[in-house]
């Protein structure tokens, strides 16, 4: 059994075969001109801001990570803010209360001028003082107590 360094020596010899693998003759003659043509073609195409950002982030993985964290942070902040705004219950009713007297005045003006209410408002039940009739409330009937007199008493 040969020692490892000797085996590596033979391996190095075998790997020297790779150095003899050559591209087709004349391949490098116009290689640099193709590169220059590629540079000129690239210069003709305008680079968008997004492409520039991607190139910068590719070269700097730490910056890419920081950018990702910043975007996620902003997203979470936005979500939290929107949730906090949604949880404030007094915001909508306050507006309704401030509008309610104005609506009542309008309707009273119409009635004082002898007009009947010209429209049926959907907010009337909300603004009316009397409680709305329930759906399952029974009809109000005048009921008299029945008097029974037993014969013979």
């Amino acid at each position: 059994m040969k020692s490892a360094p000797e085996d590596f020596e033979n391996l190095s010899r075998l790997l020297s075969l790779k150095r003899h693998e050559q591209p087709p003759p004349g391949y490098f003659d116009d290689f640099s001109s193709q590169v220059i043509a590629g540079i000129r073609a690239g210069a003709a195409e305008p680079i968008t801001g997004w492409q520039r950002l991607v190139e910068v982030l590719k070269c700097r993985p730490v910056l890419a990570g920081a950018y990702g964290v910043a975007v996620c942070g902003l997203l979470l902040l936005g979500l939290n803010l929107s949730r906090m705004m949604g949880d404030r219950p007094e915001s909508v009713p306050k507006d309704w209360v401030s509008f309610a007297p104005m609506m009542l005045n309008v309707t009273s003006d119409w009635s004082s001028q002898g007009f009947s209410q010209p429209w049926s408002s959907s907010v009337a039940p909300v603004l009316s003082v009397e409680p709305p009739p329930g759906l399952f409330a029974g009809p109000r009937l005048n009921v008299q107590r029945a008097a029974f007199e037993f014969l013979g008493n």
Partner: protein, 205 residues
Amino acid sequence: MIETATAKAPAPLPLSEVDDEQLVSRSQRGDLTAYDELVRRYQERIYATVYHMTSNHEDANDLAQESFIKAFRALKSFKGDSSFFTWVYRIAVNKTINFLKQRKNRTYLSLNDVDVNAEHDPDLVALISDKTPRRDLNLAELQEKLNMAMQKLSIDHRTVVTLHDIQGLSHEEISKIMDCNVGTVRSRLFYARQQLQAYLIDYLK
């Protein structure tokens, strides 16, 4: 008087004699003839590195060209902390590693021909001798087996073997190119060689 002044001015050096630093400086100012000279200086080594990592001529052609184009676009950010050679090597190696990671395990060999000098290479003559178990193999078959074994290595191991055993770069240069310490380079080289040896045991003495 004007003629005297013109005669005293030193003639500009041909580009082939200008050092890398000056060519880089001129390229940074947009001089494409200077960059053309830089490409000519390193095109063979960059192409060969990418070729040995991919074992595919077409891929190597595309990646090598794209590496030089990318290097030119990024040239303004090159501060000269390392040599241009190391810097452009790093771009090419990283680009090839990204390409291989995207390609994953799909390997398409498209090998270049072995040149005529291979038959007279003393290393190969010494290796392919009567004692070689598979000496019936010709060079083309041996080349294919070797490339298949290379493609079985992990990308990092293949890169280290390519840069050190084929391209002849030092451990220190490889550590700069691969952005890791010298110990990691040595360790990767050792394990890569061990694996290659296991794959190619029939073709070694």
